[in-house]
Symmetry: C2
Subunit: 328 residues, 2 copies
């Protein structure tokens, strides 16, 4: 990862909460402009599941592959140039290979599953894999305990997240979303995630799906209180741009939940969890006015991140903006 921008701001440590593709882009932008020790990326693991006997962590992998510079840039997930020979072989056995496990990608799942079966924590497993791929920033799963996202749909009832998202291509109508902890005690953030949040000078929420990617993190036992206790900039980036989602089911889901599909709805949804909000220039003046009325500091800029430079540019602008807060 080339350092396109030099740090000009004086923010010490930044924590960003992320889901998959959109979150990975912002994490990559931040990684370009911050020193590795300044950045902690906390990743949603609500999508994680057992598949074909393997522990698969889709969002962790998307962020890891993106930070390592090996992600498939067309899809935004998976490894560039990966093949699907194993999936085709499953078809020979009469199986329906509905979840893509690329051949190169399988190496990650095999190493993770082996370590998981040995009893290692997901945090340690992820650190090991990320380090081996040359990633310098701290990449943390939100929890070492299982908390699975379950989607309640009109057509199929309760669906494990990946069935909703991949098998049914997020086409079912969502009526509710649940987070199910394994075992009796609710899943909690790791000591590493807690420490990073407690030491942070700024907290960012990536333009990931608030309901499907960020809520699982916020739902962890004690997480909301931990974040609200920090008197620092807590800034979300809107995943809704000019009334549309850049990728994935955010807009469709908002409509199903009875919400107006706008960045204003996103800001309202995060409520007091954030004291700053970043939204896109395509949103126009009306949205900017509505957000100003909402009572949080706002930054209106280009948030779409279509290439590495735009990722770094958004990160740079946000960090510059946040650095000014202390002088205001």
């Amino acid at each position: 990862v080339a350092l396109t921008y030099k740090p000009t701001h004086r923010l010490g440590r930044v924590v960003v909460l992320v889901g998959g593709v959109g979150g990975a882009k912002l994490a990559h932008g931040l990684a370009q402009v911050l020193e590795p020790e300044q950045l902690t990326v906390i990743v949603n693991t609500g999508d994680d599941f057992w598949h074909r006997g393997l522990r698969v962590c889709p969002d962790l992998d998307t962020v890891m592959y993106t930070l390592a510079g090996i992600v498939d840039r067309t899809n935004g997930w998976g490894i560039a140039g990966d093949t699907t020979a194993m999936l085709e072989a499953l078809r020979r056995y009469g199986e329906d290979p509905w979840f893509r496990l690329g051949d190169q990608d399988l190496a990650t799942h095999l190493l993770r599953t082996e370590a998981w079966q040995r009893g290692e924590r997901l945090t340690a497993i992820t650190r090991d894999l990320a380090t081996r791929l040359g990633i310098g920033v701290a990449l943390l799963p939100m929890s070492d305990s299982v908390q699975a996202t379950v989607v309640d749909t009109v057509e199929h009832g309760l669906l494990p997240f990946q069935e909703y998202f991949v098998r049914y291509c997020w086409q079912p109508t969502v009526r509710a979303i649940r987070f199910e902890s394994a075992g009796d005690t609710p899943a909690a953030p790791t000591a590493e995630a807690r420490a990073a949040i407690e030491a942070a000078d700024a907290l960012l929420i990536a333009p990931s799906n608030p309901w499907l990617s960020i809520d699982p993190i916020l739902h962890l036992d004690g997480m909301r209180a931990l974040l609200l206790a920090r008197a620092i900039p807590r800034v979300a980036v809107s995943p809704i741009v000019a009334g549309r989602a850049i990728k994935g089911p955010a807009a469709k889901l908002m409509a199903e939940l009875g919400l107006a599909v706008s960045s204003v709805s996103i800001a309202e949804y995060y409520g007091t969890m954030v004291n700053g909000f970043v939204h896109d220039v395509q949103d126009g003046a009306a949205a900017a006015a509505a957000l100003a009325e909402h009572g949080v500091r706002t930054l209106q800029t280009n948030t779409v991140m279509t290439n590495d430079t735009e990722r770094a540019s958004l990160a740079q602008q946000m960090l510059g903006w946040l650095a000014e807060w202390s002088h205001a």
Copy 2:
């Protein structure tokens, strides 16, 4: 698998004990000339091991891929046209991918491991996989219990079989071979293997390595007595042809064990376990004379099986020869 030869003999049921590549060839020859319900293939599972969290059964897979017509004919094992993207990805993580797990091949290991973790018997798992690949003959692991072959070497001490065979390319000097059952009770043949042996009209031992591939089967609790109790043709095919091994470490191993590298040594090694012996035309008259003196019926023919026709031809000749025994 095309039926190249029509059955002309009247042997009802045949059981063949096999290891990997050489055994797979004879099993394939027999499958070409017998009706599926006539043939039971009992496969060595002493080479099986856990690798990268997967339950890998090299000999079972070699025989299964061969019978399904999808084997890589150059190597004799693995799937034709398979790729190694996963292994290359392991290398990116700094791993040494010493054991080949082809990308297509991984589908087999994943399905097997998933079923194994659910507690299914290897016999049932193998039947399921083989059936899905269109295999009609009974393909049986020698046991549902683990009995691992361990090779005691001069250079590295005790080595699990695959470390000796693949990692060190069978180059270490062997001083002894052990069979280690998991748990307190020795591994035993399955009910399916027992029933097949008890119902057999002829028992064949494929030209597999006697020490590394056939001995693990014979070592199973009660197996030798079970075989010796059957007053039927019990015939081994020599893996040594004109003093050389067709493939693998048989000749090298025999020398290390202090044996003359000849088909006569193989017949002597099997002793009373066999009452008939098949050896190659390349062996010459001296070997034939020595074998005749050894006191078993012998068939000298082309045993090398370089193509499908030669496999079927050897099977056909052996079965014809065996059918004559009852008239002798």
